[in-house]
Amino acid sequence: MREAIAWSGAGRRTRPSSPPGIRAALLLLLALSGCPRAAQAPAARLPSSPDARLAAVRAREDQVQTLRARFSSVTRVGEEERHTDGVLLVAKPDRFRMRLMLPFGFTVFDYLNVGEQTWMTLPLADAQQRERAGAFAPFSRQDLAEAFLRGPYAFPGECTPAPAAGDTVWVSCHVAGALRRTYLIGADGIAEETSYDGDAPRMHIAYTDYRAAGGTTLPFRITLDYPQRQQSVDITIDRYEVNPSLSDDLFAPAPADRAN
């Protein structure tokens, strides 16, 4: 059962009611890992054998234990667009934080996860909006773990690679016989990733613009589509820091949340 628990700036516990655009922003970041944009070196090519290619992709992801990324994103819902700049911090196995800013510098969103606890702060929201915090960011912890913490969250159950068209490898992951995730892996890295609810695709992520960085290879462009919600998010990574030193202070709840 997927369930998201969020805490508003006032410390009120809320249950997300609908999927927002911000969620996409969250999801995408995770899958990357990387280095400064200055690193324009071509991505290292993966082995051709399906088993070896899947193993190499997972090994790459395991290389990234901490991550700091600056990004800009465009969320599209129907014909409407939202532009946001943000910062993501990840410290595996169980901590991540994301902060979003308006173009003129105001911080408008802070999401913190430590283990099983989650805090969400919406500084600009009024009391009613905080009550409906879920409508702003109905993150499911499962989605976030998949996107940011990777590992078994991203590759659930038993994952089987197979040769596919061209120089690609198709990977399908099943849990108790049910399809949970598929991957299309190109020579540079994961090209497409799809999560399923039952038999229906729930979230589709495309990764492009792979570059060598920080001893690994990471995508600098990530596009998320939620087919059932007619919603998409384009994320462009401005800068990655791979395995930076991230102090515990960076994962402390905001003072207002601490007070609650």
Binding site: R68, H83, L89, P103, T107, P123, L124, D126
Partner: protein, 212 residues
Amino acid sequence: MKRIRRWLLAAIVLAPHLAGATCASTDACLAAIDKAQAGTQTISARFTQIKHLSLLDEPLVSTGRFAFKRPDRMRLEIETPRPATILINGRDIRIPGMTESDKQQLAMTPMAAMFTELGAMFAGSADALRGHFEVTATPADGAVTVTLTPTVPAWQRLFRTIRLRFVEPDFALASVQLDDALGDRLDIAMSDVQRNQDLPDSLFDAVPPPAP
């Protein structure tokens, strides 16, 4: 003799500042600022904005232009690194990329009301700020720093403090420092401040598309 010389030297050094320090209390300083702003119809300036994000080691820097027109219209035009224009007309705030529903929601937030009250500073009615802020004003180094500390919870979630620095003799706004509740800080330094230039209403009505 040496002592006299020291006194003279101190007097020479301090004289300009003492002469400009027209206020000795918060009320007096606010009154001085109000008086200086009373004739202000418009303000235009350039600004450099530095965002100190607690999650990042390095600051984020942006530059742009600011315009104000009495009574409560403002335009923030960010030129670098990514062009964006924000228009404020009373409690109506327009931000690029904001959906109509977001716009309606934003108008209900404390931020909209806060902008309106901050605009009072430019319109010569600083005392109005006392509705939602504890206000202190102190003169130093040829300027008056007005420190605003929110007194209502909704506004405290936005900022811990806002500091505005007005430079004598005409009390032009020189800088703004905003410390938010998440521990991030925004420093805005104004330059090339022009008062009462002719700013057309259209400047505050439409957002031209960014240059390619």
